[in-house]
């Protein structure tokens, strides 16, 4: 297989390609049209594009083939769709671009977007968002459901898209660039709590997979592996990928939020007038 063929989709999904083209076109349209002062710098544009490209890469290249027939590659795919890709996209802070694009929507259309706003605010309740985040991992890794999802093409696409969309929602809630002091964004303490809450069940699930003696996911046995690899090794690697990197990403997230909280404190202190400390 030539290098170019590796970049072609294993299972071509026109809707997926269309969605990615739409996101990138809207983002670049916003970049070129928006006022110079609001435009994100090249580092942020690069981070956003990298996040989008990573998610596209695991969905519409030969990587997808290996994800369908190797458990540990599948775990890697979800690590990118549910964690790494959305983290990069959220950290790149595309908010000014989104706000600019929103202003381009004609006034008459805006009332129709109100229900989407309701749904968004409902899903972004911290308790519900955290539950959804680890709940979806548990749902798709529930052995009978995982079996069906790997056998049915439609379910497989629903699984991958639900992971990506939920990843975007969750990490956007965590890395919301607006300060909770000046806006109604989620408080830093709650954000860190969410990260800790979602890390725990992922660690338990990953460890359970790593230490199970029998085959938990026999669909890869039933459907053939991409190359002959001992099933125990495949399961062990998959379990480790479910366990360690997500836990590390939660810690990394907590550190970023801590830094932002300290930054906000410093800013607030320097803006307020110094008061005399009573003796």
């Amino acid at each position: 297989m030539s290098a170019a063929e590796y970049l072609l989709p294993y299972d071509f999904s026109p809707l997926t390609v269309l969605a990615y083209v739409l996101v990138l076109s809207l983002y670049s349209y916003g970049l070129f049209r928006m006022p110079e002062g609001d435009r994100p710098g090249s580092g942020r544009i690069f981070t956003f594009t990298l996040g989008v490209a990573l998610c596209y890469g695991v969905m519409q290249t030969q990587f997808d083939y290996y994800s369908q027939y190797m458990f540990f590659v599948h775990r890697g795919q979800h690590l990118i769709l549910h964690h790494l890709g959305p983290i990069l996209i959220a950290l790149s802070n595309p908010l000014p671009v989104i706000q600019f694009l929103y202003r381009q929507i004609p006034q008459v259309v805006r009332p129709f977007l109100v229900p989407i706003g309701w749904l968004y605010r409902c899903l972004q309740q911290p308790a519900l968002a955290s539950l959804l985040f680890f709940g979806l991992i548990y749902l798709w890794l529930w052995p009978p459901i995982h079996f069906d999802a790997m056998l049915s093409r439609d379910l497989y696409w629903v699984m991958n898209w639900s992971m990506l969309l939920d990843g975007l929602l969750f990490w956007w809630l965590i890395f919301d660039p607006r300060s909770p002091i000046t806006t109604n964004a989620l408080g830093y303490g709650k954000r860190m709590l969410c990260l800790a809450v979602v890390a725990l069940p992922q660690m338990i699930l990953g460890a359970t997979i790593v230490f199970s003696r029998g085959m938990v996911y026999d669909v890869y046995e039933v459907c053939g592996r991409a190359w002959p690899m001992p099933p125990e090794t495949d399961q062990l690697l998959g379990g480790l990928l479910t366990w360690i990197p997500p836990a590390m990403m939660s810690v990394f997230g907590i550190l970023i939020i801590l830094r932002r909280a300290m930054w906000d404190d410093v800013n607030r202190a320097s803006h307020s007038t110094p008061q005399e400390v009573p003796q």
């Binding site: 299972d11 056998l151 093409r153 379910l155 053939g224 592996r225």
Partner: protein, 201 residues
């Protein structure tokens, strides 16, 4: 209006009950994994053991048991083919004629039609042995969400092939119905095949 509300609740209950009955009416307790609706109907274009091109239409109307493997396979292929041919032999007379075992070799470099012929005839004369170009086989396996891969050959040119260990069961209409895992017992397989053969008779 309390009356309308009461009627609404009643209608809702009836609808939900009807839905429940509708859902459970069709449920059978299969021993194998029920894959109805999860996969597309049977379709292929491959070469049989006499070198002729054949399609799924040639076996239309019978229950088909499709299995992917290779003739140099040390364990799972002989065990499965043995179990399948025994299961078919244990079926009652009219049903037996209706069940067709299809063995698809995914090792086209080593498995010639002649080699497949002598291999499948060892288990049963009625088994259809098929193979094709690697592209054709890739397309078929992708359709049924499975794959195969080759190990690097050793100094004697021998290599293992990873392939699906399951048997895909298609009903008379060609719809994918059951997925038989390798560990399913012979009795459980016979029971499933008999129930499937009795459908619509």
């Amino acid at each position: 209006m309390p009356k309308a509300n009461g009627f609404g609740k009643y209608a809702l209950t009836v609808c939900l009950l009807a839905l429940l009955v509708g859902c459970s009416g069709d449920q059978k307790n299969w021993n194998a994994k029920d894959i109805s609706g999860l996969m597309p109907e049977l379709a292929y274009q491959l070469t049989d053991t006499s070198g002729e091109t054949v399609t799924a239409q040639d076996t239309a109307g019978s229950i088909r048991l499709m299995f992917f493997g290779f003739t140099a396979c040390p364990d799972i292929c002989p065990t499965t083919l043995q179990k399948l041919s025994q299961a078919v032999k244990q079926l009652p007379e009219p049903a037996r004629e209706d069940v067709q075992i299809i063995f698809v070799s995914v090792d086209p470099n080593r498995d010639t039609p002649e080699r497949i012929k002598s291999y499948v005839e060892f288990f049963d004369d009625g088994i259809i042995g098929l193979t094709g170009t690697e592209d054709n086989l890739r397309e078929l396996s992708k359709r049924y969400r499975t794959t195969f891969g080759f190990e690097d050959p050793d100094e004697n040119g021998n290599y293992a092939v990873s392939h699906s260990g399951a048997v895909y069961v298609f009903d008379r209409k060609g719809d994918a119905r059951l997925l038989v895992r390798p560990q399913q017992s012979l009795d459980a397989l016979v029971a499933d095949l008999a129930a499937l053969a009795n459908e619509g008779v």
